[in-house]
């Protein structure tokens, strides 16, 4: 890494800069996403701007933000018209160096979120080789030095829409889900981002959801977007009687029924047959996972031998117990 710019930057005095001269949109050096300005505004109001931002003269006459994007955003929200800043001359610093100034300034003081890591890596990739990034910068960002990881993070910033980026940052979707969504079409991502805003899926449920949606869409030939907009999904999403986790479970159940019709049917028939037996409440009959074993299990809870004997006597006299069989056998 080249740090030749340090003496030049460090010697620069802060000068008062009018806000109107600064390009306030996120520029080529910014790496802030999904932040909250409340504490920063309180800090600026309470103690003033302790660390002047760094700006760069652009050829067009205005000033680009190199470092201090959040501070300047806070100042603007507070209605300030001028602020102290160190202004770099355009011909005295390379854009990569300006980017690195901001990177190291931030690296020392805070954690980057996944979208910010993607912004940083994407910007570094404009100037550096993949090998240089993998060898040096990935570990600084706490990431494994793998090309696929680099590509995924850059895509978090460039491919995901705003809703999904926010969902990633607030934990609504996991990084694994975000990665999985990168491989989907824009329409699929949009359909799923709509789903994630209405329903709360935990990490494991997100994995199941993506797999079930993908499989069911492939098998049925109906797009994921169409499936999510279809009536059974809409009924769940619009339900006033279910909360968000309940909706998640209902959607997964619906998808499982579509994806595994015979298994779901077998489950239903088995439960129905067991219910028909009217077993004492201390007795349960369970099937093995997916009915893979040929054995069923009966559980009896009892306080003492006398109760156990009573329960066994009751079981012996239950009509239909001897008819128990695999749910796909016999009349439903």
């Amino acid at each position: 890494m080249n740090a030749d710019f340090s003496p030049y930057v460090n010697r620069l005095p802060a000068t008062e800069v009018p806000v109107e001269n600064v390009t306030l949109a996120p520029g080529p050096f910014t790496m802030s996403y999904g932040f909250n300005l409340d504490f920063l505004k309180a800090s600026v109001e309470g103690a003033g701007l302790l660390n002047p931002p760094i700006l760069l003269e652009s050829g067009a006459g205005d000033l680009l933000i190199v470092s201090g994007y959040r501070r300047i955003s806070a100042l603007v929200e507070l209605g300030r018209t001028h602020f102290p800043a160190r202004v770099l001359e355009a011909n005295k610093i390379h854009h990569l160096d300006a980017l690195l100034i901001n990177f190291f300034d931030n690296l020392a003081t805070r954690e980057f979120n996944p979208v910010e890591k993607g912004m940083i890596l994407g910007r570094l990739a404009e100037y550096l080789s993949v090998e240089q990034i993998l060898d040096f910068y990935m570990s600084l960002l706490g990431l494994p030095p793998r090309k696929s990881t680099l590509e995924n993070y850059i895509s978090f910033d460039r491919v995901l829409d705003e809703i999904l980026k926010r969902s990633l940052l607030d934990g609504t979707i996991s990084e694994a889900t975000a990665r999985a969504l990168l491989g989907r079409s824009k329409e699929e991502r949009q359909a799923m981002s709509g789903l994630f805003t209405k329903v709360t899926f935990n990490m494991n449920q997100q994995k199941q959801l993506l797999e079930l949606l993908t499989d069911t869409s492939r098998i049925s030939g109906v797009s994921i977007a169409e499936m999510i907009q279809s009536e059974p999904f809409a009924d769940i999403l619009d339900s006033a009687s279910m909360n968000r986790p309940q909706k998640a479970r209902a959607i997964l159940l619906l998808l499982r029924t579509m994806r595994f019709p015979r298994l779901t049917r077998a489950d239903e028939v088995f439960k129905k047959r067991v219910a028909k037996l009217h077993l004492p409440q201390e007795v349960q009959i369970k099937a093995s996972p997916y009915f893979e074993s040929e054995f069923y299990r009966m559980e009896i809870s009892f306080r003492n031998g006398r109760q156990l004997k009573d329960l066994i006597n009751q079981l012996v006299n239950i009509d239909g117990l001897q008819e128990m069989q695999d749910p796909w056998e016999g009349a439903e």
Partner: protein, 363 residues
């Protein structure tokens, strides 16, 4: 090589000391040869695609004879694998080898001739035991045979041994070298079969069913004992009409009385294979079934679907001929009972059944 384009030969370590390595390279004078072993780039799908075009010649120092990697709670046939190569130039979408080996190249072990004595000694020192040995578990037994010449090397050695059979399992029609050999004893040539639809859409680079059966017919007429393996059975739209088409072809080409065995197994896979199939074979429909996690951790069709498949195939096959040596590959005692009407109960029982078939056909 026709059908299986080799783009690179990778010679590892001392491989060139062996005559087989030099002979193979002599047959492919125009193919670039490298000696580095660094062929992987960490991207599995790309590596697998490239691996299928890279012939990797190397010494093998591990166990030459390995028991078939059976699976817990399921009955295994007790077959033993003669480990002559790993991976396969064919490209079946459902192939479990895609997630089984770390090395994606077509690895051919060039010191088999030098090491086969270990196996022969084991066979000879257990005269009361029948060794059912095959090369078709980790590779196709005949796909690379025109290049490597396994048949020439192995068939004469096994033909002399009454307590062993060598099964060469394939989806190709590479039988020319076999036919030129005088030996027939103790050798079984077997073909993997499927429905014409599965063959056409999922078994890339493999011979069509009718070509496989024509090759089987020729082998049978030339005195070889043959076998078949309906594995993996894959229910697909119209499968009840489609599998019988293959059975019709069997009837047209093959004398059932001279089939030593026909196995059946439904598609099963370790969960990690799913992502590889999705990436490498995006058009494949083999993952469309109702798969559940079996007692061995593998994904299998929901039990009544498996039973329906086996019952259907058994009924049709037994209508054709009622002594085909039918057996199930990696299924439970329950499935055996409920679909075949009998059960070998365990791996030993199935081994005894298959050994009895060997005795019946080879004395």
């Amino acid at each position: 090589m026709a059908g299986f384009p080799i783009e690179k030969i990778l010679v590892e370590g001392n491989a060139d000391q062996y005559g087989l390595s030099r002979r193979i390279q002599k047959k492919m004078p125009d193919i670039p040869r490298v000696t580095s072993s660094a062929t992987r780039d960490g991207s599995a799908p790309y590596s697998l695609d490239r691996g299928k075009k890279t012939l990797h010649l190397l010494e093998y120092s591990g166990e030459l004879l390995k028991p078939c990697p059976g699976t817990t709670n399921h009955i295994c046939c007790g077959y033993q694998i003669l480990n002559v190569a790993t991976n396969c130039p064919l490209d079946c979408s459902y192939c479990i080898l895609q997630s089984y080996f770390n090395e994606p190249d077509l690895r051919v072990f060039i010191n088999i001739k030098e090491r086969i004595e270990e196996v022969l000694h084991l066979i000879d020192s257990h005269p009361d035991k029948i060794f059912r040995i095959g090369t078709g578990e980790f590779t196709d037994s005949l796909a690379l045979d025109p290049l490597v010449g396994w048949a020439d090397m192995l068939v004469p050695l096994f033909a002399k041994r009454k307590n062993a059979i060598l099964e060469l399992k394939t989806k190709t029609t590479n039988i020319d070298r076999l036919l030129k050999l005088p030996e027939r004893d103790q050798i079984i040539i077997s073909w993997s079969l499927n429905s014409p639809t599965v063959t056409a859409t999922e078994e890339h680079k493999a011979a069509s069913i009718s070509k496989r059966l024509e090759a089987a017919r020729i082998c049978q007429s030339e005195g070889f004992i043959i076998g078949f393996h309906f594995d993996p059975l894959i229910p697909h739209p119209g499968w009840q009409e489609d599998y019988p088409r293959t059975l019709d072809l069997l009837d047209r080409f093959i004398d059932p009385a001279r089939i030593i065995w026909i196995s059946m197994g439904s598609f099963r896979f370790m969960p990690q294979l799913k992502a590889i199939i999705r990436q490498r074979h995006p058009q494949s429909t083999v993952l469309d079934g109702e798969f559940v996690r079996g007692m061995d951790g593998k994904m299998r069709y929901f039990k009544p679907i498996r039973m329906e498949l086996y019952r259907f195939m058994r009924e049709h096959l037994e209508t054709w001929y009622n002594n085909l040596g039918l057996y199930l590959c990696m299924e439970s005692d329950e499935i055996w009972r409920k679909t075949f009407g009998w059960t070998p109960q365990n791996t030993d029982g199935l081994s005894r059944f298959l050994d009895s078939r060997v005795k019946r056909f080879f004395g």
